[in-house]
Subunit: 156 residues, 2 copies
Amino acid sequence: LKPAGESKKETCPVARSLAIVGDRWSLLILRNAFDGMRRFGEFQRDLGLSKSVLASRLQALVSNGVLQVVPGEDGSAYQQYELTKKGLGLFHVIVGLRQWGEAFLFAPREERSVLVERASGKPIGPLDLRSRAGKSLTPDDVEVRKVETPGRGTVR
Amino acid sequence: LKPAGESKKETCPVARSLAIVGDRWSLLILRNAFDGMRRFGEFQRDLGLSKSVLASRLQALVSNGVLQVVPGEDGSAYQQYELTKKGLGLFHVIVGLRQWGEAFLFAPREERSVLVERASGKPIGPLDLRSRAGKSLTPDDVEVRKVETPGRGTVR
């Protein structure tokens, strides 16, 4: 999208994030990782993508520190892919995509998977964004304060 | 990724969402729309993508009900693109991408844009996911209850 060198100057956090996880396969891999999936073969069967595409997406997620390679739990030769702390930080992004889908992309009684609290088995509440004072915020309540770069005008 | 007919049977809300907004350009367009951008030319200048790619992404977002075309505010011939209620529902996804980038992709004093509460001018708090009982939830606290389809085993 932009030359690699340019990305160092990218001052918008959304754009930086999308440079790493801004494609459907990567986000589906991450969804599966949050569901506990760890093996190459499992990802491949579930997603139905080619081995080479899966390998390149996993490699990129590993080199960006989102996933890490760990030895197979049972001492097998198969390596596994595990979310790092950085990868776990994408929890709200994946949940946000889920809750949007639930709200707008299913008919009222249409069958769908459900995210539940493990301890209670009950569905969870909606994501919430609050001000420092505790007020729940809508898109109209917020604005982006952009970085001013002298001589270049306002950039993100 | 899958034949269009298949998507009707997709029971994972994350996957349905990604079929609509699972690419970097669409999510950057939506970021800009949340920032108040409305015109084709503004999107094109800001994103630096080709007119044909931008036109096809906007068209897809309109046909999926995420954006709507409205007449230019000043009575000009230029049509504008506006978030629908469905599009506004992606607020937490865009904020989630922003907050992940802020937390993991910037050096401590590196310049970046900041999301603030319009009324107070103060930075906002982090996205939060809570149980029905009000407990803040981490990835370990939740699990996906998948749809069981007789004869096909567990599917998403």
